[in-house]
């Protein structure tokens, strides 16, 4: 079989570790030429559009945009870059990945030196507070928030004898329990799955709808005792057992394909997910609509722009942030790509409230998603939030696939989290 040296597996790790050892932030602060900067983003969030727009305003500035991969890969690449010392000038970090970086603010430029503390009032308090370090440094400016809703197929709802109007559909599920009941009706009528899966479409939504998720406001781990987490978990298990899910893991190939084939009628859709439905299932244009999320409000997702400490052109990067992430800049980006602004001053703007999406039967997405933020009770995202969420998700998926014991799933998840994060 494989003719490799006996040690190569260990070396794979060691090689990168050596690179890591050479790190340590350079403290010299070159201002750069101010005319060019390197920008790492992740795919699927359409930063290309934003960069194109910026070039129109500032034609003399060169932007080298690299879409590193998914949000997780981008955060990994950034960590390696910070450890190795060769960093981009500007980087987009997804909300769940941010706390690890905020805990080590010495790796980033304190954006207060460029005036971030003067404009921080422009952003939702709970959003900007996530990128503020304990000692006060602001290391990231928020670009968008999730906002929550449910996308559903009007044609399939009609076949199942359910209402298709988005107001009436929203009334079908004031609560998650009502959502599950609706699902049972749909599956009984059509014999098909109602929702894509229990883990992301139910658990990840419900757990994001309260004041306290895995951490309390002081930063202590409370995932074992937080009623919000347990309730969301139980709802997801109940959904899995109801037999109304397509058992397709989100973002998997089969999940994308099923979106176009109508193998499920409903999917929980944070604002950024609409873009994925459009791309994955272009032929279903006009068959979708967007209704309110059970429970009414919540947030899943959102990203931040940060400037690493060793950036060669921090000033040019900051100019980009200041121009594109101003309330007006975010509003324009929303109108083009649908990413929901983090700047509440534009939430009453007629252009935002009036935005309708033809792909989704002209649903007033601007109003639906901002409404979902207004009743929101913000919660703290901690350094291990992503790992904890992943283990809960895994336990639910295991039950959904018919392998895991639903009665033991909660204990399994807690045990796995304990192993994963060590506390």
């Amino acid at each position: 079989m494989k003719l490799r040296t006996a040690t190569s597996a260990a070396l794979v790790a060691a090689l990168a570790l050596t690179a890591a050892a050479c790190g340590g932030g350079g403290s010299a602060q070159p201002a750069g030429d101010g005319k060019s900067f390197e920008f790492w983003s992740f795919s699927g969030i359409n930063q290309k559009q934003a960069v194109e727009d910026y070039k129109k305003v500032k034609p003399d500035v060169q932007v080298k945009l690299t879409e590193v991969g998914g949000s997780t890969e981008t955060a990994q690449a950034l960590t390696t870059a910070l450890a190795g010392g060769k960093v981009p000038d500007l980087v987009l970090i997804q909300g769940d990945d941010l706390p690890k970086f905020v805990q080590q603010p010495q790796n980033f430029q304190d954006l207060r030196q460029y005036g971030a503390d003067k404009i921080k009032g422009d952003y939702l308090d709970w959003v900007i507070s996530q990128s503020t370090a304990k000692s006060g440094e602001i290391i990231g400016i928020p670009t968008d928030v999730g906002g929550m809703a449910v996308a559903y197929r009007t044609d399939l709802f009609k076949q199942a004898g359910l209402p298709t109007d988005r107001e009436e559909v929203s009334k079908l599920w004031p609560t998650w329990d009502a959502f599950i009941e609706t699902g049972k009706k749909y599956t009984a009528a059509t014999g098909k799955a109602f929702v894509d899966n229990a883990a992301t479409s139910v658990f990840y939504q419900a757990v994001n709808q309260g004041p306290q998720k895995y951490y309390d406001p002081a930063g202590n781990l409370v995932y074992t005792t937080s009623p919000q987490v347990k309730t969301a978990f139980d709802l997801a298990i109940k959904t899995a057992q109801a037999g109304i899910t397509a058992r397709l893991s989100s973002f998997e190939d089969g999940w994308s394909a099923a979106m176009g084939k109508g193998d499920y009628a409903v999917i929980s859709a944070p604002s950024w997910l609409l873009e994925q439905i459009r791309n994955n299932a272009p032929a279903t244009k006009g068959k979708w609509d967007v209704a309110k999320i059970p429970g009414g409000s919540g947030n899943w997702g959102g990203s931040y722009l940060a400037i690493p400490k060793g950036a060669a052109n921090p000033k040019a990067a900051w100019d980009y942030i200041a121009a594109m992430q101003s309330p007006q800049g975010q509003l324009e980006h929303f109108l083009k790509s649908g990413a929901l602004p983090t700047t509440p001053s534009v939430y009453q703007d007629a252009k935002l409230l009036g935005r309708k999406d033809p792909f989704f039967s002209d649903a007033p997405v601007g109003k639906i998603y901002t409404d979902s933020l207004l009743g929101l009770k913000p919660f703290l995202i901690g350094p291990d939030s992503a790992a904890i969420g992943q283990e809960f998700l895994n336990a639910i998926t295991d039950v959904e696939q018919g392998k895991g014991d639903p009665a033991k799933a909660w204990d399994t998840a807690l045990a796995n989290i304990k192993t994963a994060i060590g506390s």
Binding site: T7, A83, Q401
Partner: protein
């Protein structure tokens, strides 16, 4: 080595007779230096550094806290480590046994004297081996897909229910083992074939004259003459099997680092990668690397013992 110009320097008689100038004496070292320099930079130093890092709680962008044996204690108590070790062994068994048996049979067939287009048949064995692992894995993963896979479609034709290969432990292992086998059986076959070709044709002819059929020839001539190379392939496949990485990484798209929701097909190298580069626990990742290193050294030693003890029966 006995009667060449450059006798070992330890023999006084030799040094007395032939005097080498300093450049001449240094030249051999210069010739072998590139490998050892590159080995030192990319092999030895990182290896030693891994041992060092394994003693720390090492945050790549933060502090490095000395924890001594802490990472190793944690590793031994970590069910995920033992799960990964079991998965690795299971996948290794499921891929190696069929692979070696298949290669043995194929090598025997390809060694046949009257085979037409023999070179073409033999060379085509190497095609899977030169195909990119990533491409192979993606194609196989689609074939094994629960809802849209070719395999489940075929099962459906004969009335069998769809199998969710990835979701249960052993079917996911089987799926990966098939990929590994597919990629390596040709390589192993050619190794065996090369060894078989060294057996004088007359031995087979004599056996045939004595009335031995194909099966008897295979058992009593081919297998014994292949014994050293079989030992070799078993040992190298063990080393390779402990390092299976790309296949489990690529069979799932949503949870690549764990190879499924309950780590059903996470191998040791994948676990190392998850901890080191997914969670950035470099110290813990390094400790897994050290454990893997020890395991591989143990098996390499076994290689040494076996290869010095077992000799071919044929003189």
């Amino acid at each position: 080595m006995s009667a060449t110009l450059s006798r070992p320097r330890s023999l006084p008689a030799a040094t007395a007779r032939v005097r080498h100038s300093l450049p001449e004496r240094l030249a051999p070292y210069a010739y072998i230096a590139p490998f050892f320099l590159i080995f030192a930079v990319f092999g030895l130093v990182p290896l030693l550094f891994t041992f060092y890092v394994a003693l720390f709680d090492w945050n790549p962008i933060g502090e490095h806290v000395f924890v001594g044996a802490g990472n190793f204690n944690r590793l031994l108590a970590d069910t995920r480590f033992w799960n990964a070790a079991w998965n690795t062994i299971s996948i290794w068994l499921l891929s190696t046994v069929p692979q070696l048996v298949l290669a043995l049979g194929l090598a025997h067939l390809l060694n046949h004297a009257r085979l037409r287009l023999a070179v073409w048949w033999r060379m085509s064995m190497l095609v899977p081996y030169i195909t990119s692992v990533a491409a192979t894995t993606i194609v196989f993963a689609q074939m094994f897909d629960r809802d849209y896979g070719l395999l489940n479609w075929l099962l459906g034709l004969v009335g069998a229910g769809p199998i969710d290969f990835l979701q249960s432990g052993w079917t996911s292992h089987l799926m990966i083992a098939v990929m590994v086998t597919w990629r390596w059986f040709g390589y192993t076959t050619l190794l065996y074939l090369a060894s078989l070709q060294a057996v004088p044709r007359t031995v087979y002819e004599a056996a045939a004259v004595d009335g031995a059929g194909a099966w008897k020839q295979f058992r009593h001539i081919s297998i014994p003459s292949l014994r050293p190379v079989i030992v070799f392939t078993i040992v190298t496949s063990t080393i390779g099997g402990l390092q299976v990485f790309t296949e489990p990484l690529l069979v799932t798209t949503t949870s690549p680092l764990t190879c499924g929701a309950v780590r059903q097909c996470q191998t040791l190298t994948l676990f190392l990668y998850e901890q080191g580069f997914g969670r950035f626990q470099f110290g813990y990742g390094a400790a897994i690397g050290v454990a893997l290193f020890v395991l591989i050294i143990a098996i390499a030693s076994l290689n040494y013992v076996l290869s010095t003890r077992i000799r071919p029966e044929r003189g």
